[in-house]
Subunit: 301 residues, 2 copies
């Protein structure tokens, strides 16, 4: 059924079941357990100037998520790379966001608990790169520390990228209503966890901090850590209580769409700098330089 | 895109955007936040012999879930009742499962955190009634107490029916691999929570127990509680530690698809009865009798 779908549907090219199509026509059955049970995983890479950025790390995470969630990907990493390249080329994009996903499918028995009776559905697509642009990024965002707790690892392993966003969404809606741009959730112990679709980093006494690496698997944070090592900037993964986080010297958020964005206030406290602080500035400059580094990128075929 | 969709797609009739269509053609865009973020809610009622069972309670819960998740339903309860009836009649079903759902939609800005920039999508459909049939039910199921914790209320309110099933699914997969039919998850304190798509009740010393009513909102358990009151059988909602649960005299699972199903073993312990125990037996008989009671049902128009 070609339902009228309101909202911004970008031009883009999608792949599934051996065929390429317009992104607007890539659909999920209402009966797919990928929809009804969030039984799905995905990853999102980006292309800048016809080069994928750390596609190796995205593929590694995608296959790990898939294995951890018992969702078989029916293509090899090499085939997947070809499919992603095809999507980008067919969409005629030099800067793109590139999705890859796999969902459970519909059980052959009709019983929604018969996961073994499903054939998984793999898909991929490319759409124009968006996110907080470099220009907007320097303006910075206000961030609220939410009272909402991130879904804990005892329930769903946060390393396995998934579509369970109701906690993130609730925190985001509450933050917006209270006048903040965005939010970061806490874990059960009240430590800083992650935001809706991004990781949070803080700079404290010259050291870059990010949430315990057991909790998350951000590709952008992985890049930042490696860059920090190269620049001789100390970097630690640890648990950070929200009270200590509020006293940070610099804060930024990190995600594939947007890269690194400065935070200009945490709750009601303005941060010392309006925009990037001195440490963040060095990291963000190097981060974008890496986008033309052959060791960090893969050309679109 | 009319993708080849493997799996069992039942005959059924769906409604969305003012139109009726075959169930197999009801699709969700890959960009809908209902898919990518599980930003959706739903409810499932059932029809036996052309009568909805406790449709009032299902509608009440559906509108509560929708309000709690900030997902506007664009039809009134009376319009919704008409739509559900239409789906059942057009599908020519006298016994049916009837879904109603609403998903976030695609943001007009393209920014996946702009929930205010979305027009929600409402849908409904009817398909043949299935589930653990009365015949199969009497055979009973083996149940494992899982080590997986149900997503806690601090993250996602379990009263608000949602598509976050990865915890339930993980427990179900693990139980099957270990030779059990099904599973029940625990809460953070190790108390019995709920199973994948059903509630669990136990009978202990003549009293029917179900998980604390703050934790769940099962329509079938609500029916059982009312029936227990009528029959003079004591019923309590409370926290039940898993060790006490394992020592129950009778255990059954309760859900819209299937009604009441006996549990014949908990972990490695067989229950005293093979099939329904004496208390469960009284409840299940009265439960099915209520399906022709005018006060408990609504005719399909």
């Amino acid at each position: 059924m070609t339902t009228q779908y309101p909202g911004h549907v970008p031009d883009g090219v999608a792949y599934t079941g051996g065929q390429y199509t317009a992104l607007k026509d890539l659909m999920v059955s209402i009966l797919d357990l990928g929809y009804t049970q969030g039984a799905a995983t995905y990853d999102v890479a980006h292309v800048i100037n016809n080069r994928f950025f750390r596609l190796d790390w995205h593929l590694e995470r995608f296959y790990q998520s898939s294995a951890g969630l018992d969702l078989a990907i029916p293509v090899t990493p090499s085939e997947l790379t070809d499919i992603l390249s095809q999507c980008v080329r067919r969409a005629e994009l030099s800067n793109a966001l590139v999705w890859m996903g796999v969902m459970q499918g519909i059980p052959a028995t009709g019983n929604p608990r018969d996961y073994e009776a499903c054939a998984t559905r793999f898909y991929a697509y490319a759409k124009p790169y968006y996110g907080i642009s470099n220009a907007d990024a320097s303006a910075g965002v206000s961030l609220q520390v939410s009272t909402v707790q991130r879904i804990p690892p005892d329930s769903v392993d946060p390393h396995l990228k998934n579509h369970h966003w109701l906690d993130l969404r609730r925190a985001q809606i509450e933050a917006r209503r209270q006048g903040y741009d965005t939010t970061v959730l806490i874990d059960r112990q009240g430590n800083i966890a992650e935001g809706p679709g991004f990781s949070v980093c803080a700079v404290r006494n010259g050291t870059v901090w990010s949430a315990d690496e057991t909790a998350l698997g951000s590709v952008t944070v992985r890049a930042i850590r490696l860059i920090a090592d190269e620049l001789g900037i100390p970097f630690i993964h640890s648990s950070l209580p929200q009270d200590e986080f509020r006293e940070s010297d610099e804060v930024f958020i990190a995600s594939t769409s947007g890269g690194i964005t400065p935070v200009i206030s945490v709750d009601t406290r303005p941060l010392p700098q309006d925009g990037f602080g001195p440490v963040s500035n060095r990291l963000v400059r190097a981060y974008w330089e890496k986008h033309s580094d052959e060791e960090w990128t893969t050309p679109v075929q």
